[in-house]
Amino acid sequence: MSDWRELEQRRQELTAGGGPSRIDRQHKTGKWTARERLNALFDPGSFVELDLFVTHRSTLFGMVDAKAPGDGVVTGYGAVAGRLVYAFAQDFTVLGGSLGEMHAGKIHKVQDLALKSGAPIVGIIDSGGARIQEGIDSLNGYGGIFLRNTLASGVIPQISVIVGPAAGGAVYSPALTDFVLMAEGIGQMYITGPQVIESVTGEKVTHEELGGARTHARKSGNAHLTFPTEAELFAGLKRLLSFLPSNNTAEPPRQEPAPPPEGAAERLRNVVPQDPNKPYDVRDVIRDLCDGGDFLEIMPDYAKNMVTGFGRIEGRPVAILGNQPRVLAGCLDIDASDKLARFVRFADSFSIPLLTFVDTPGYLPGTKQEYGGIIRHGAKVLYAYSEASVAKVSVVLRKAYGGAYLAMCSRSLGADMVLAFPTAEVAVMGPDGAANIIFRRELEAAEDPAEERKRLVESYRAEFASPYVAAAHGYVDQVIDPAELRTSVAHALWALKEKREDRHAKKHGNIPL
């Protein structure tokens, strides 16, 4: 007898995963199960599971009798805010979520489907790693995931959710994807774990210190967003998806336009201090610009001298970047360059317009930066902006000096529209440095060099430390009243909506990595 009743029974057994006691243990460690996570992600009732009946076919090391419902991973597709999204969620209650041949095969299948159908894919990681009993077949499984991650890069958005261990090779799939989201105290990523580290280098470190959410958000820059709980994580994931198009040929999703926060225009007139030595928070400018003041900051705790994130203007998603004058004076450094370049390239891949706020005194000086390769890393900024063919709008808020001015999406690198606040200072260098060089003879001849220097710096500042020289040469298209910021940016984006820029056909460029 084989009818719908048997099917029902089989389904029930398999969807129970590792069974009540293991599910209980999962909950006791503060974690949700794979199916609970998928329920949190997808619109109610929309998830369609694939490959429920797949299981391992290993016969070695006592695996013949090992029961592995779904082979430790739940895969399928569903709707998130009505849009198609593919997903896989590793099930820690089944053989510790370990990745074997068939487990990997299920993941490969949804990766292929997501790519073919042009839909984002979400990978939910909670796994003890490779299933050792299956040997090189499980290794091959990882390799297939990496290959598919790479081939899908720039075609569909790929997001990794770390809600459990991800150790060794398992971390490289998340690292290849566009965004890594981690839950604090639950998700951990590292190449070699605390035990191996202690036995080799003698360093003592806990799992959480080594690879927890806080570490990857602040120190390594491997996590883009972190959340205190899984519930907040899945809410955050849906918010992130709301800014992203389904694939590289689709338009970013539009929402009903919303006005900026109350009193934004008036605040914008006062947010950038007249005194160029005074810091401010560039996010205050960004929030007062966006629809409803809604700005989703990406990597908020890493390289804080560079702000990156998504907002909407007149309902359309915009990728927003800005130097942050209140951290490291807004200098560009190695980490900020990496953060910026990767964000610019993501936005360009998916046709999300780039809006760049400029206020930087230059590159961070020091041997640490030079030895660390700021030349190579800083070049990524130039490369990413020059390569980007999406609409590029820049707003110079205050300092834009020298090489850093060029790097921050200047007209010279192909910015389509450059706006400037009246406080902007677009110049080859800051007034003090410039005066020292230009007026060297006058300073040497002066009776009171200090007084003369002050006078000359002031005269240089008055003449050149403004947006008007750059505007006179056409490097700045419009000098705007800060209160007009939103209107001006909205107009610029509207004027560039159908922008197309063709490039030479090539296999791919060679970005300095």
Binding site: V200, K278, P325, R326, C331, G366, K368, G430
Partner: protein, 150 residues
């Protein structure tokens, strides 16, 4: 545990070196610590001949000379809490807190003038100010400890 006598700039240090690695490491570690000053010692030297900067770090150094036989893992400064460091080289414009003050994570604890900007230095954690290591006007390097929060 092995003990070494190290003389640096005329000051003598007695150091204990504990082996923590396994296989093949002792041969590398032993000659290194015998021929050249071990790293903690080298750092102390850096702090000691700096009378120009009347900072607490410098004042601390002689006191530590008196303590013989510190273990190799001793931190370079006798830290009393979470250090708040200068993110970039510059001049301390203002210290906004005093020892004993309560601070919350994100509070502005000092102003550092660097890159022509009055940079706000924020508390990395909540707690009480345990030590202030610099005074207004002092020049600091990137990474120097400004104050400590415990």
């Amino acid at each position: 545990m092995r003990r070494f006598h190290v003389v640096v700039n005329g000051l003598s240090y007695e150091v204990e070196v504990e082996e923590i690695g396994s296989e093949g490491e002792p041969p590398a570690a032993t000659p290194a610590s015998a021929s050249a000053p071990s790293e903690p010692a080298a750092r102390e030297v850096k702090a000691a001949p700096a009378p120009a900067a009347p900072s607490a770090t410098a004042a601390k150094a002689p006191a530590r000379h008196a303590q013989p036989a510190r273990s190799q893992s001793a931190a370079p400064a006798a830290s009393v809490g979470t250090p708040v460091t200068a993110p970039l080289p510059g001049a301390v414009l203002e210290i906004k807190v005093a020892v004993g003050d309560e601070v919350r994570e994100g509070d502005v604890v000092a102003i550092l003038e660097a890159m022509k900007m009055e940079n706000e230095i924020l508390a990395p954690c909540s707690g009480h100010v345990a030590a202030v290591r610099v005074t207004a006007g002092s020049a600091v390097d990137g990474g120097d400890v400004l104050l400590e929060i415990a």
